[in-house]
């Protein structure tokens, strides 16, 4: 593959969020990951929270897609590393949830020690997501 633009150009691409299906979003993520892989030194990948989060998220999603147990999904090493990012991860997770629901509730509760989801909302992913996004706004993460 020949890439003629300078590396900084690729690493700063603002991808327009026009994905219409899971496949196109996956392609977008793979493209971003490929660019990072080619142009960003490992040290930068480790130190840039956004890049680190995206790399871990992509790995986690690929490895856990067929699992039905949230405990197993949350115990994946990449997910645990996202939890390990601590408060830095909160905004990144909430921004991700804004784009697409995911099983981020375990991570958010673990990092923040809070749970804004009402008992009657438990298991209802859209409502759980809304509750956390509202929490994020109230706590100035969004």
């Amino acid at each position: 593959m020949i890439l003629t633009c300078p590396p900084y150009y690729y690493s700063n691409i603002e991808m327009v969020d026009t994905a219409v299906c899971r496949e196109s979003e996956k392609m977008r993520e793979e493209y971003t990951r490929m660019i990072e892989h080619y142009f960003l030194p490992i040290s930068t990948q480790q130190s840039n929270p956004e890049t680190r989060f995206l790399t871990l998220k992509t790995q986690w999603e690929a490895d856990t897609a067929l699992l039905s147990s949230v405990t197993e999904i949350a115990m994946h090493p990449a997910y645990q590393q996202i939890i390990g990012m601590g408060h830095t991860a909160i905004r990144l997770i909430l921004l991700e949830m804004k784009k697409r629901p995911g099983h981020w509730f375990w991570a958010l509760k673990s990092i923040t020690g809070e749970d804004p989801v009402l008992p009657e909302q438990r298991g209802r992913i859209k409502e759980m997501t809304r509750a956390w996004l509202l929490w994020g706004k109230e706590h100035n993460y969004l």
Partner: protein, 147 residues
Amino acid sequence: MSGEEIEKAFPNLQITGYSITSPATLEYNCIAWAAGESQSWWEPDPLSLYYWPSNTPRQYTAEAYKKAYENIGYAVCNNPAYEEGFEKIAIYIDIHGKPTHAARQLISGNWTSKLGQLEDIEHVALDDIAGQYYGSVGVIMKRPKEK
């Protein structure tokens, strides 16, 4: 996940045939789907983040899962063959006896399974998705069909 990837994960499906019957969604999981629920994710997680029937132990055990389905009228049986007037479900377990998946029988005698966070599929036999990911069928349950 594409059909190709599904077949890679469950090679038996290539032989017996299957169809994808829904888009991928996180709205519900296989345990809820087997119970006929498509609006929530059923999970006995230790943090109590997800829905789990109230009078059922929050444990990843076959006993707890059986209890969850008993709450909605199912009772253990030992035959997965289609029986007129009954609905059947199957709980899959891993080698440690931990539940991994559940499937529900359709009126055709085929089975419907929600694959993790992905699509629902209709498959012919319970063994079609047994193996690396879901282990084997550990419990069959049935209840009279609602008229």
